[in-house]
Point group: D2
Amino acid sequence: MAPPSLHDSPDHPGSASPSDVSGGTLGIWFVGARGSLATTATIGLHALAARLTDETGCVTAHPDLDARGLAAWSDIVVGGHDVDTTPLAKQAERLVAGGVVPGVLVHQVGADLEATEARLRSGVRTGDSPDQRADVERLAADVREFAAAVDRVVVIDVSSTEPPHDAGEDAATWAALEAAWDAGRAPLSPSSTYACAALLAGAPYVAFTPSPGIDVPALRELADERGLPYAGSDGKTGETLVKSALAPMFATRALAVRSWTSINLLGGGDGSTLSDPAARSSKTGTKRSGLESILGHEVPGPMHIDYVEDLGDWKTAWDHVRFDGFLGTRMTMQFTWEGCDSALAAPLVLDLARLTARAVAAGERGPLGALGFFFKSPIGSAEHRLATQWDDLVAWSHACAERVSS
Amino acid sequence: MAPPSLHDSPDHPGSASPSDVSGGTLGIWFVGARGSLATTATIGLHALAARLTDETGCVTAHPDLDARGLAAWSDIVVGGHDVDTTPLAKQAERLVAGGVVPGVLVHQVGADLEATEARLRSGVRTGDSPDQRADVERLAADVREFAAAVDRVVVIDVSSTEPPHDAGEDAATWAALEAAWDAGRAPLSPSSTYACAALLAGAPYVAFTPSPGIDVPALRELADERGLPYAGSDGKTGETLVKSALAPMFATRALAVRSWTSINLLGGGDGSTLSDPAARSSKTGTKRSGLESILGHEVPGPMHIDYVEDLGDWKTAWDHVRFDGFLGTRMTMQFTWEGCDSALAAPLVLDLARLTARAVAAGERGPLGALGFFFKSPIGSAEHRLATQWDDLVAWSHACAERVSS
Amino acid sequence: MAPPSLHDSPDHPGSASPSDVSGGTLGIWFVGARGSLATTATIGLHALAARLTDETGCVTAHPDLDARGLAAWSDIVVGGHDVDTTPLAKQAERLVAGGVVPGVLVHQVGADLEATEARLRSGVRTGDSPDQRADVERLAADVREFAAAVDRVVVIDVSSTEPPHDAGEDAATWAALEAAWDAGRAPLSPSSTYACAALLAGAPYVAFTPSPGIDVPALRELADERGLPYAGSDGKTGETLVKSALAPMFATRALAVRSWTSINLLGGGDGSTLSDPAARSSKTGTKRSGLESILGHEVPGPMHIDYVEDLGDWKTAWDHVRFDGFLGTRMTMQFTWEGCDSALAAPLVLDLARLTARAVAAGERGPLGALGFFFKSPIGSAEHRLATQWDDLVAWSHACAERVSS
Amino acid sequence: MAPPSLHDSPDHPGSASPSDVSGGTLGIWFVGARGSLATTATIGLHALAARLTDETGCVTAHPDLDARGLAAWSDIVVGGHDVDTTPLAKQAERLVAGGVVPGVLVHQVGADLEATEARLRSGVRTGDSPDQRADVERLAADVREFAAAVDRVVVIDVSSTEPPHDAGEDAATWAALEAAWDAGRAPLSPSSTYACAALLAGAPYVAFTPSPGIDVPALRELADERGLPYAGSDGKTGETLVKSALAPMFATRALAVRSWTSINLLGGGDGSTLSDPAARSSKTGTKRSGLESILGHEVPGPMHIDYVEDLGDWKTAWDHVRFDGFLGTRMTMQFTWEGCDSALAAPLVLDLARLTARAVAAGERGPLGALGFFFKSPIGSAEHRLATQWDDLVAWSHACAERVSS
């Protein structure tokens, strides 16, 4: 059987057929709605709904996952916040020029993009306002307005990576946070204000970036109190994905990894953000932890994330693994990965929205560790091995599907 | 925690401590006992027994496997057949020159190597004798003599790859095989005569090569009749190992693999054998099947096995994977693997001997599908995904351990 | 100084300014005028003439070469033969889809493409006609008709690679060829009929493929008799280009290359042609010779050319070099080349046309060894080292320029 | 013809036969005489003299160079300075363990190594003494003592890389340097004190490291005044060597290099020194300059030198080149280089000693730009293209040979 081609009917094997997916209408609210990732996801969603593309890259279309109760592509709408004001159509043009999305597709979904454009609202920047509580409430009001038109909303942060941020005692509890606001302080970083707004608006929150987001005690407390699930963090789309598939091979074969070097060259917005050492440190942190967790020991070797403007939305990673075998024999493995981050990540955020919405329906709350398959630094799980994460996801998908369809 | 070094005490975490392993004495009978692989395994076994090396590369030392009832390294002896007559000590020198084993180690285990040398017997070649039954009986007698001195024997074929061989109707049943022998015909290829001899001597048989071996109806019937387990075939040590770790990543992420190119450069005896197109076809067959099974569709792309004399016991593989992501975005992954086949395979054959001997004790019979983790073309299992094979192996190791220790 | 971008003015440094190039009008007659290479070259030429693109990839724009007397881009027209009848516009669409040429450019030069379309004539196939002389005369008449409208014509063979062909005694001299034709035989392969027609029409001939073409004694005799120059063969555009830059490094550093493995994956028309082993043997021949000539000894190692349909007009090559250094130390170099053959070759055929036309004006005749820089198997030169070929080309460019401008 | 093997007679083609080389006795004085590089060079020299190895890696054995007047291997002795006191025999053991030199060779040249050991003297460290002039004079006395026993001496700095050092006004002239010393100041970095000592002892000086060395106005003045030649700096042995062979290919083919990423992983002493950012900056400086000089424009892209302890004396470099071809087509080249720096550099320092000694005999003085072939940052030449450097070296070798033999 040949692999499904772009021009196959969307009913190819593996696709969730419309009868399977009946989860009602779903609204995805993107934080960073005008970025490369959100724009690619939005174009792709419209194309899926109109059956102009197939489901390549969409994990929820995999036949091993249980699709019952997932929202149909045509039942999903997009809205979101962004501090940027460049129109989506303009962003789409840029993606076409960079070879990320086909120009003809953008043309075909033009009207849908315009409709989405009308649902975007302006975001908040650090220090925008002297009153962080007011910011949060304004953001929450935007989400609530959007939510009124759909059965469920999921908020997904796909905005640029923030530097590590310590909210300190002011965010140790919800009460402390309220007190800090009362005192005119603004302890939350922007990503956390969006997470807070999501929860206040009653929406589950997914962190696709390594920014602090919901990873703040006060906000976890709020999520628990509201009975909302959340997931994250930092989408596993490229070099770390490969690592999490390969490292268990060395571990189970009892091969001794002596050094693992990781070089990441990336252009585009993400590369530019990460050329700031502070933001980069958020990223290298999440990239490193998984490897040592899988191998069970420290692994020396440099890890670099470098901005190479000319690469645009594309990323090239080179990894070099030095390992010893039986009797100390020295061996080496190298790999080069040349991928388009937006195209790799876009279907995953659609998957996460569908799965998280169904999780709410299934009564899930708190950290969704079973979504670790999607993340470099899984909230609610210590598992980093890709295949095991897949097994966990499959099992959980059946459990949720069972609950929503019974 | 740092990875275990060659000079660590053999009691490092992960090592089966002597109290765990109490499976009695074990004899490994190698078919191809003077080849690079068997010689490396023999040197390594003696080094492990004398605690001169650690257990890097030994899967049975992994803490997730249940080691109860496995033979201790110091309780294992080696014997075997070979058509070659070069002394083991000479082969060991060649391996030292090629950088496969450290010279000092060979020196240290010299006396043990000599003892093993005394247990080697001459093998059979195609057409050696007009009487194949007599050949088989002579081989079986050698195994029986060896078996007398140990609690259990496992026969492992690590000899050079044979071309595909169709034994035809003459080997369709045990009765047909006997009739063919009576009529003076010799339907079995050499690897199958060894397999037959193993079974007649009451020993389980493991095929580490893609040669026909036990994969002949008459011999499977014999194994069933004798209640013996068997396993194979074709050790998964390098490029195919990596493939079986990576391909599931593409599958579970719903990425569409459009072509997968595999280039294998190898020198040494194996490369030389495989420069014969007929023998090579045995190998490319087992290497290909797994990939398409994991991905669920045909995957175009050349596969080459080339002999590059200068590489000696080392192998360099280059794989190039072209895949499409969301919206048809074209992406690429490449890897280069530089390994020493003998060093990768040697601990695995020791593992297989330990596990198969315990399986006999645990009452296992027929094809040991749970050993698929070790093989390119698993007998008794259709599973090729490395991580899933690992899960199966772990579960089975606990089941066997439970049975032998209760 | 930044590298010249696509949107720079065509007057960037390095570009031949209009005043330098005053070689009159030039007609390029492509054999294989509808193929990927000729179509890319034609589109590119029109784009250069209209100053819609810069001269990236055009060797004749290099400031070290002497541009005096070269035809200006806007003074060049294209015609040609092809056995295929697909319109150029259709071929251009295919190239746009494959990412070889930008769609907007094809749109902008649409009128020029149509004008070129009108100058294309149908080619000949093996055994098309019982009368090879008539074929040749018909082809020559086409070239003559085209030549009437320009100052000079250069015929360039960019058609698919033919298998090796031995024209035998029938083509040993021009008289023998005429006698064979008189006797109703057809000793020439198609590429040689085009070469013969070019010469009869008074045009110099350039072989960009490894097909026999002018490499036949009778035709060389004809070229000498007519006083025409010729050049070839087999454009050096990718992996062999890199080899010819790298191999001298090993030679001058006295490093001992033990094996050199070359893997070429290519799709598109060229790959498909080369999946025929006979045609492939023409290609591997020209690819091999240079390396051993540079290193001065035989170099073991496989060379593969594999068709991977999915790669389209793109080519991926992987080379693996094993070399020894001082005291026998073993070292390795690998490279991966990912290029678009049509885009690499197209500017070179334009360069060859300009340089060959000027060579005629400068009174050159016979094999143009100084054009070896462009070829895998240089006619008229035994030099394969890229840098030395460059020095030769630079010197010759000054000599020719001097002669035509004095 | 097969490449010369390690066990060939040393009279293989390309080897300078004894009759060619009659330059008298030569003393090589190493600064850093106990380091990996000097130790490898010393072992290798003794092996060459005893005809225990061939001349692989020795540029002066190349048949295109003129060997007349070069010192024969058996006429060369080694001495030197080092701040380290580890015996050469111990260093040799370490190199054997790391796979850099064969153990058997070290054994065979043991007596020669001991003789060399007796000629080593202790070096100087920064701030060793309050009196830098006294240090210099002591070092010079050591060189003079060594020089007494041979016809000529060449001093070669192969010690660890120093950080950039600005000697300032105190070293602007020889008079200023003397005044500074009179005033109790110590303006020279250690590498410059060795360079100064060499010149005072009447020996030419070669900088194989990027340390300041002779690159100080006062010392250049001294060299001029004494009529001594000098050469450097920073041996071109690995990734930069490959770059200087490849970059001209992009330039002459008019391909537009958009980014060039260079990753260098190295262990051993050099890697450890370079893990100090200050020392590393000396190195990345010399590595970068050549590329931009060859391509004629700035080339973005990260350059990293990373210490990976586990690699020992080995180095792995990965380079990634993004370039555009005709019509803006995006293409990529990558290479991986796995070499042993000591084995690559050792024959070059022997070559440099022979060539520099002959240059003195031929009356050369001042910077030897024709030795640029050996260096990342050639003193006395702006040429970085490897092939052109080779042509320059060949021509100069003939000129010098002519002068010394007439």
